[in-house]
């Protein structure tokens, strides 16, 4: 039997949701690993875009920053940052935007700006970067997050980027946004999808060995479950080897 960590499960579960036809706007960290595992396994023709302007990139190692030379070296082409945000993101070519956050609520609203009051912050976080417009311009949004009480909260301190707002059709009714928004949340413990009506994230599959108590103990809102909750298929040997090879190549490259 193959051993794997919750992080590995999260990355691999996320990678499985991507297809050859996707054009992904990729962030650093788990999204980058997931997208590249997809590219190196079942979706070799997936298009990966990093906000530094690298379009259609195929890095051999994971970038430490969003603008590593490796991304440019392997890209179809590299455009300016204004062009990236105007033509490629706002122009509607991104099918999947991949976001993470310091705080997430049950409707997929994300906070990477500030803990506490904006003008008197307890903790000042890095800010939104590309997220505010990725969240509304990408056809759909995938979110990855490790579960923790301080991260998965009833209400985010600050709407860095819009998910489903207050739920239901709030996204379109209040803000006029016609893209789908968050369609999946992949954590280190489970896979969640929005309820079709309320848009609240509900658990659709639980990773191997994880209990519902584990889930609730690391989530700040009262969890709802889909009618038919599955167990997330464990990583295949190919998936796991691909991820680990990628990570070891990356570790070697970054220690140079």
């Amino acid at each position: 039997m193959v051993e794997f960590t919750p992080d590995e499960m999260m990355t691999i579960a996320a990678s499985r949701l991507l297809t050859n036809d996707d054009v992904c706007f990729v962030g650093i960290g788990a999204p980058s690993a997931a997208c590249n595992v997809a590219r190196l396994t079942h979706a070799p023709d997936i298009t990966l875009i990093y906000e530094s302007g690298t379009l259609g990139t195929a890095p051999n190692v994971l970038p430490l920053s969003i603008g590593d030379g490796e991304l440019c070296d392997t890209a179809v082409t590299t455009v300016s940052v204004p062009e990236m945000f105007r033509y490629w993101l706002q122009g509607g070519h991104v099918t999947v935007g991949f976001l993470g956050a310091a705080q997430i609520d049950k409707f997929g609203n994300l906070n990477t700006t500030v803990i506490g009051d904006y003008h008197n912050p307890k903790i000042r976080l890095p800010g939104g970067g590309g997220a505010p417009e990725i969240a509304t311009s990408a056809h759909q949004v995938f979110i990855t997050s490790k579960q923790a009480l301080r991260g998965m909260v009833e209400a985010v301190d600050f709407y860095t980027s819009l998910g489903h707002g207050t739920g239901g059709n709030d996204r379109e009714d209040t803000y006029g946004v016609k893209t789908k928004g968050p369609t999946v949340l992949i954590t280190d413990l489970a896979v969640w999808k929005p309820d079709p009506e309320t848009k609240e994230f509900t658990v659709v599959s639980i990773h191997e060995g994880v209990t519902r108590d584990d889930l609730q103990a690391t989530c700040g809102w009262s969890i709802k479950y889909a009618q038919d909750v599955r167990e997330t298929p464990v990583p295949t040997e190919l998936e796991l080897n691909t991820l680990r090879d990628l990570q070891s190549r990356t570790a070697i490259a970054h220690s140079l």
Partner: protein, 281 residues
């Protein structure tokens, strides 16, 4: 022109300046020169304030930041900036915050000589409520409400580029970021380069080249982007970025590091810092 002379000539206390570079070609040497010359009360624009603005804030050069993502890329937070925001150490700074899309559009509009940029942005995003400079215009054809932000128009922009030629033209290639826009939007532009060559023969016809009449000072500083990188010259020093987390986290360690590595040296040290990063790939 020497970097010392260029900074002394063009950068004054209290100015609105931009040091740009999107992970690639970040003008570290120029930032250190600004710190050494003791500039104060700068309003500093940058999409991605990272180590150099952490250093400038920690050394008290900056009174206000205009930005869209403030972090040590791939590593973590900027502890000197946080110390300033959360504890007013060494002094308080204010800040004006946007998204990447907003700032990229604002640079583009600045380069285009426009007073503002319009784009589809901040839908449901709370920055629009806390930043009074995020406004809206209505499309006169469709009635759509679009976000509007003031264009970026620095008094001085500073970038690092691969090379210049003897006619004063500047080549930028690879991840070009918003550097062209930063230069075109500014009243004055300082460019540090790896080297000056005779000419740019045999370049691809659509290469990003800044003509001489938009550049005010070209300063040769080999390695001047370190620990950032210069495509085709040397690689990113990822180890240095990771080490910065510990240096930045401690006030005393930071002060000593700055004294040893910035205040008591000059731009000439950069060449040695990238020696081990050349030709690696």
């Amino acid at each position: 022109m020497s970097l010392q002379d260029a900074v002394a000539k063009y950068i004054k206390d209290g100015q609105l300046i931009a040091l740009e570079g999107f992970t690639h070609l970040i003008p570290h040497a120029a930032a250190h020169e600004i710190i050494r010359q003791g500039r104060r009360d700068l309003t500093a624009i940058r999409m991605t304030p990272d180590i150099i603005y952490d250093q400038m804030v920690g050394m008290g050069c900056i009174k206000k930041l205009i930005f869209s993502f403030m972090g040590n890329p791939g590593v973590g937070l900027l502890k000197r900036v946080r110390d300033s925001i959360e504890h007013e150490y060494p002094s308080a700074i204010t800040y004006e915050e946007y998204s990447h899309s907003a700032m990229a559009n604002a640079y583009e509009a600045g380069a285009a000589g426009l007073p503002c940029a319009i784009f589809r942005g901040f839908l449901g995003a709370e920055l629009a409520k806390v930043n009074p400079n995020i406004k809206h215009v209505i499309c006169p054809f469709t009635g759509e409400k679009l976000a509007a932000v003031p264009s970026v128009q620095p008094e001085v922009s500073v970038i690092h580029a691969q090379r210049a030629n003897k006619r004063g033209e500047v080549l930028i290639e690879g991840i070009i970021g918003v550097q062209k826009e930063a230069v075109l939007a500014a009243q004055k532009a300082i460019v540090t380069v790896e080297e000056i060559v005779d000419d740019f023969d045999d370049m691809h016809p659509n290469t990003c080249i800044l003509p001489h009449f938009v550049v005010d000072a070209i300063c040769v500083v080999p390695g001047g982007a370190h620990p950032s990188y210069s495509h085709n010259y040397y690689q990113r020093d990822n180890a240095a970025y990771k080490e910065w987390a510990a240096i930045s986290a401690d006030r005393d360690l930071f002060a000593k590091w700055m004294e040893d590595n910035v205040m008591s040296v000059g731009p000439e040290v950069f060449e040695g810092r990238v020696a081990h990063l050349r030709g690696a790939k």
